[in-house]
Amino acid sequence: MAKFLELDKGTEAGIRELLGQSLRNGQVKAVFALRRTTNGAVNYSLITDPQMMEEAVPLFPSMPSNAGQLLSRLTLKGPVEGPVAVVVRPCELRALVELVKREQGSLEGFLFISFTCPGVYPLKASANGEIEGKQTQYWEAVKSGKVVPEIRPTCRACEHFIPYNADITISLVGNKDVDKRCILFLNTAKGAELVKGVGGKLSEGELETAELHAHREERLAEKKSLYDQGQLSGLGMDGLIEIFSRCIGCRGCRSACPICYCNLCTFDSFDYEYEPSTYEEELKKRGGVRIPPNTIFYHLGRLTHVGISCVGCGSCTDVCPVDIPLSAIFLQVGEAVQKIFDYIPGKDVEEDVPLATFEEVELTEIEE
C-alpha cells in the first residue's frame, strides 16, 4: 500500500497551492512548471515569486519543449542549489534521466512531481487558443479513464504514462473527481516532507488500480494500431527513402529531440560533406542525385544514435513541418532495440546505457 494525500480542491488548484505555500515557507527555493505568461503563451518557467504561482498551469496539456532537455541545460554546468520542485511529465523525467546518465545534467537538488499522464495535444494546436477550446473534452476523457482523442499519436500509444522516479505522483488518469479532489501519492520521504502542513487527509491506497490497468491495455492497443498504420516492418530501403523524401533538412526533429544532446552535430561536420568526386561517381552510377544528399543517412544515423534512449515523447513529429511520422518510427525502432537489451530508457539512473556496457556473452540477436 502506498501513502497518498487527498486535498479537498481541484487537482491543478491543489498543486498550485501546495507549491505556492512551499515557496512561501522556504521549503523549496523555486518551482519549475508550465506557466501562462501575460501574452497567453504557455511555456516552462522557473518561478521563485509565490505570487507568480497563480500563473502556473502545471497540468496544461501541451509540451512546448521536452522539459528533460530544459532541465539538462539548467544543470549542465552544475546541479541546482535546491530544493527546486519540478512538475513534469513521465517522458520528460525519463529524458532527463537518460541525459544525466550521459553527464548532461544532474538530478541533484530537484524534487520531482509527476502524474499519470493523459498526454498532450500537438504543438500546432497551441495556436489560436485551440487547446483552450479542448480543455473540457480533455478532462472529461481523463476522468473517464479513456484515451484522450486528438492528442499526440505517441501519447496515445504510450505505455509509460506512470512516472518512474517521481517523489510525488499526482493521480490524473481515471480520477473521476480530478476537478474536485487533488490526490497526491507520496513515493519518497522527500515527497512526504513537502506536503507537511498543507492539510488534507492522509490515506493508504494503490495508484495502479484496475482502471489504470485497463487504460494501459487501451494504450497498448493504440500502439499496435500506430505500428500497423506505419507498416514499418518490411518497408525496406525504398520505403524509408519514400517516407523521408519530403524531408526539407530543417533539422527541427534534432533540435526538439531531448536525447539529441550534442553541441555540434556530426552530420553537420565536414566529414559528411560530399567530395566533388563523390558527386561525380554517384552521378555516373545513377544519372541524378538528390540535393542536398544524405537525407536518409541523417535520419537513420539519428535513429541509431538515439534509438536506445528514445522515450517516445513525440516532439520530433510535432515540430516536423512536412509531417513525417518520425516519432512512430523512432518509438517502434527504439522499442525493438531496447527490448534486446531489456532496457527501459529513463527508468533507472544507475543502469548503464547498453552501448557503454560490456558483457562477455556475445550479442547474437542481430545475427539471426
Binding site: 550521459r102 548532461q104 544532446y261 556530426t266 561536420s269 566529414d271 546505457v353 552501448l355 557503454a356
Partner: protein, 564 residues
C-alpha cells in the same frame, strides 16, 4: 600533388593465382582514377618481391600503395617496412586480403575473382583517404614488478634483478616465502624447507636491486609492455606509483575450503584436519612445537589421510596432493614410529622422475593404501569413523584417531580482482590463464605480463621454479635495457569542438587511456596508453572520438566499394 596509386597483386605461388583470375582483377582496377600502375608478382613477401615493390614505388613516384595478398596479420608489417624503405609513409598503404578471404574459401574461381575485385577496389578507395602518420619512439622501462613473494616470485626476482634492472617485489603478507615457509620438509627427499628457502629470502633482502614491498597490494595498472604505470598501496594508506616494463604474477594458491562439504565432517568431528593445518601442527614453530597430538593431548595411534578432497567440486586434479599426502605419512612415521597410517585414494597421481620411488619408499615404511570411493567422515567409537565404498563396491567403516584431508588447491583469494586490475584472463577454474597451454605457458593475453607458479595452476615447487625461470627468461630476452618502443601510431583522438563530455568513451576504453578534463569538460586521449582499439570511436555519440587510421571517411569509402 597528383595521386599515384600503385596496385600490386600477389600470386602467393599457386595459392592465389590458381583460385583468382588475377588478370581480370588487374583489368578491373587499372582504369580507376588515380591508379598509376597495376601489376602482378609471384611472391611479394619474398626478398625479390620486396625489392620489386621498393623499386616500383620509387620508379613510379607512387603516393599510395595497395597490395592484394594475404592477411594483414601475416604481412602488413612486411609491406609497411617496404614503404618506409622506399620513402613512402607506411600508413599510405592498404593490404587487401584476397588469400584467406577469397582464394582459400571460395570454390568457384569466378566468385573468388569477383570478391577479390571488390576488395581491391575497396582498398584503393580507402587508401586515398589515408593520413600519413608519424612514428614515435620512447625508451622501454626495463624494471619489473613481481606480484607475490612465494618461491616463484622470489626466484623470478632474483633472476631479474641486476644493476640495469630494478625489481619491485610486492607481497601482501608481512613476511615473504609464501606457502613453502610453513612447510617443515619437502618431498621427495624430505629435506628441510627452511634450508632451501632461507638463503633465497636472505638474497632477496640483501639485493640492492630488489625493492621489497610487504603488506602491499597492486591497485591499478595502466600502459603496455615496456611502459606500465602501476599503483601499489601499502596497508594503512600510503600509495605509490611505479614505472615498470613488465610484470610477473606469482600470487600462488590457497587451500580449498572444505567446510562447504559436510560429508568430510570438518569442523564438526574432532581430530579432522586439513593438510595445511596438519603442516602447521607438524612445524617446529607451530602451536604444538611440532608435536603431533590429538585434541586430548595424546599422540594418535592411527591416522587416515583422505585424498582428492574437493577434486570433483573444483573439477581438476591438484597434482601435488598425492605427493604431499605421502610426505605427511612420512612426517607421522618419523615422529610416531608405531602409528598406523592409511591413505584413502581414488586415483594415485605420481608422474615424474623421482616420485615412484618416493611412493614405494613411503609404502615400505608400513603405510597402507586403500582405494575408496564415496568417503564420509563421522564420529566413531572412540575416534573418527571413515565410511567408504571399497573397490569391490562394499560399504566399509574403519575407525581412526585422526583424519587428514588432502584438500585441493585453488587460486589465492583476490585473484579475480587482480585479473581485473591487470586486464588478464582467468580460466573456468579461476587460475590466471596462459596465452597458450603448450606454446605460451607463462605468457598471458597481455604482452609484458607473465604468470608463474600456482597462480597459473596447481603445481609443485620445482615446476613453480621452472615457470619463474621461464618468465624471467622471457623478460630478460625481450626487455633489454635501452630498448626503444614504438607506441601505437594508429590511435584515437577526440575533437574538442565535438566532445560533449558524456564520458561514454571513458566507460568503454579498455586501456584506461582516456581522462576527463574537468575544466574544458571534454575527454582527452593519452596517446602513449591508447592502443587504437577503436572502442571510443565506435561508442562516441557525437562523433568527437575518431580513430586516426579508421576514420569515418576511410571506412565509408571502403564499405561503399565493397558493397556496391
Amino acid at each position: 600533388m597528383e595521386e599515384k596509386i600503385g596496385v600490386y597483386v600477389c600470386e602467393c605461388g599457386p595459392n592465389i593465382a590458381e583460385k583468382v583470375d588475377i588478370e581480370r582483377v588487374l583489368a578491373a582496377v587499372s582504369s580507376i582514377e588515380g591508379v598509376a600502375v597495376a601489376e602482378r608478382y609471384k611472391l611479394l613477401c619474398s626478398e625479390e618481391g620486396k625489392k620489386f615493390l621498393k623499386e616500383n614505388i620509387e620508379k613510379h613516384g607512387l603516393t599510395h600503395l595497395v597490395v592484394a595478398a594475404c592477411s594483414p596479420k601475416q604481412h602488413e608489417l612486411t609491406f609497411m617496412n617496404v614503404c618506409e624503405e622506399a620513402g613512402l609513409n607506411p600508413y599510405l598503404f592498404q593490404l587487401a586480403n584476397i588469400r584467406e578471404q577469397c582464394a582459400w574459401i571460395i570454390e568457384d574461381k569466378d566468385e573468388a575473382t569477383e570478391k577479390a575485385i571488390r576488395y581491391v577496389r575497396a582498398a584503393i578507395s580507402r587508401v586515398r583517404y589515408h593520413i600519413p602518420l608519424e612514428k614515435k619512439e620512447i625508451e622501454a622501462n626495463p624494471d619489473v614488478l613481481v606480484i607475490g613473494a612465494g618461491v616463484a616470485g622470489i626466484e623470478a626476482s632474483l633472476l631479474l634483478a641486476s644493476r640495469a634492472r630494478k625489481v619491485y617485489l610486492v607481497e601482501r603478507e608481512s613476511s615473504i616465502g609464501g606457502k613453502v615457509k610453513g612447510f617443515a620438509q619437502l618431498f621427495p627427499r624430505m629435506e628441510s624447507a627452511s634450508a632451501l628457502l632461507e638463503p633465497k629470502i636472505k638474497q632477496v633482502v640483501e639485493n640492492k636491486n630488489i625493492e621489497l614491498m610487504t603488506e602491499s597490494e597492486v591497485e591499478q595498472l595502466l600502459g603496455f609492455f615496456g611502459n606500465f604505470v602501476v599503483t601499489v598501496r601499502k596497508k594503512g594508506g600510503e600509495e605509490r606509483e611505479l614505472n615498470v616494463g613488465a610484470v610477473v604474477v606469482a600470487t600462488g594458491l590457497q587451500e580449498f575450503d572444505v567446510s562447504g562439504l559436510p560429508q568430510y565432517g570438518y569442523g564438526k568431528v574432532d581430530n579432522v584436519y586439513t593438510a595445511g593445518e596438519f603442516e602447521r601442527m607438524n612445524s617446529p614453530d607451530g602451536p604444538t612445537q611440532g608435536k603431533v597430538l590429538l585434541k586430548d593431548g595424546r599422540a594418535p595411534r592411527s591416522v587416515a589421510i583422505i585424498h582428492c578432497v574437493g577434486r570433483q567440486e573444483k573439477g581438476y586434479c591438484s597434482r601435488v596432493c598425492c605427493l604431499y599426502s605421502l610426505k605427511l605419512a612420512q612426517y607421522l612415521k618419523s615422529k610416531i614410529p608405531e602409528v598406523q597410517v592409511c591413505q584413502f585414494y581414488s586415483d594415485l597421481c605420481l608422474p615424474g622422475k623421482p616420485y615412484q620411488r618416493f611412493y614405494e619408499e613411503t609404502k615400505g615404511k608400513g603405510v597402507d593404501f586403500i582405494r575408496a570411493e564415496k568417503v564420509e567422515i563421522s564420529e566413531g567409537e572412540g575416534g573418527v569413523a571413515v565410511n567408504y565404498s571399497s573397490e569391490s563396491g562394499r560399504l566399509e567403516v574403519r575407525n581412526f584417531d585422526m583424519v587428514i584431508l588432502a584438500t585441493a588447491m585453488e587460486p589465492a583469494h583476490g585473484s579475480a580482482k587482480l585479473a581485473e586490475i591487470l586486464n588478464i584472463g582467468r580460466g573456468v577454474e579461476g587460475f590466471f590463464i596462459e596465452e597458450h597451454e603448450k606454446l605460451g605457458p607463462v605468457s598471458t593475453s597481455l604482452e609484458g605480463i607473465y604468470i608463474a607458479g600456482c597462480a597459473q595452476g596447481p603445481k609443485g615447487i620445482s615446476e613453480s621454479i621452472v615457470q619463474a625461470e621461464a618468465a624471467a627468461g622471457k623478460i630478460l630476452a625481450s626487455l633489454v635495457p635501452g630498448r626503444k618502443l614504438e607506441p601505437e601510431v594508429k590511435v584515437s583522438e577526440i575533437s574538442e569542438a565535438f566532445c560533449i563530455g558524456c564520458k561514454t568513451c571513458i566507460s568503454v576504453c579498455a586501456y584506461n587511456a582516456i581522462t576527463f578534463d574537468e575544466l574544458r569538460r571534454i575527454s582527452v586521449v593519452n596517446e602513449v596508453l591508447c592502443r587504437g582499439c577503436g572502442n571510443c570511436a565506435a561508442a562516441c555519440p557525437s562523433g568527437a572520438a575518431r580513430h586516426r587510421h579508421f576514420t569515418f571517411r576511410q571506412i565509408y569509402h571502403e564499405l561503399m566499394e565493397t558493397l556496391r
